[in-house]
Amino acid sequence: MPASSDSRDSHLTGQMTSAKIVIAGGFGVGKTTAVEAISEIPAIRTESWMTAAAAQIDRLDPGIDKVTTTVAMDFGRVTIDDSLVLYLFGTPGQPRFWPMWDDLVRGAVGALVLVDTNHLENSFAAVNYFENDADVPWIVCVNLFHGIQTHELSEVREALTLPPHVPLIAADIREPRNVAHALLAVVNHATERVTAVVPSGVG
């Protein structure tokens, strides 16, 4: 019986590994743009169904007409080496989808929170989420729309009340190389967190 086509990649079984970085931020801040800039495939859209009161309800009762919402998110992939694939997931923007964010962030190497200095308030919710409700390394990146930096990073840090340990960078995320730089900053920050020997019980 002929083996299916000419697949010679027997190395595909076993050693392949994947990693994930989450790209977060408010509506219109450029999450999908960043994913598409660096992804080797066109951004893929996947959907998840959520009910309005998902956290409180333990059984879906057909007698109660609950609203089911479709939450969509875009993701892309970058082949890092012959046995490592990096997935980039853009968060759904609306704050009412927090359970979805928890799911997205689980197992992530880190997160890149994009902000638009002209609409900082759009990214408050995301900053809040990573500061208080998630346990992954995260950094903030000011998206330089049209390559122009309109505010000093120190001003942005202050406006977002970013803790000093959260790195803040700026990049025009339409450029694949800039996105790579930003992701590199996430990985570096994650590495620092692993290597920093933090005594347990501090806090």
Partner: protein
Amino acid sequence: MARRPGLHWKVRPYMTARGRTSSRSPLLMHTLVSTGNRYDPVLAASMTPASRSLYEQARRMCSVAELSAACNLPLGLTRLLINDLLKIGQLVVHDARPSQDLALLERLRAGLLRLT
């Protein structure tokens, strides 16, 4: 006894999942799965349409999220059905390294550097 209507694309996920709404070990969205270089067309023919499309798609290794998108199934349902296929040994999960593994971070760094 009244017969249940057949599965339809509009059937809500918990119907296709036979009443289950959660799985024991949640697969991460980026977890890689595949049929592990095996494919059984007879078995495929006996599966429900949703499981069959997942099984066929996974002949080429891909992530849970990619399977969900390619088969046009919501993520939660995709996970449940993948778990079922894992239980009967028809799909395999590929090496999932902890995200804070230094060797993994170093490889990511090297790979991303090449793109800068």
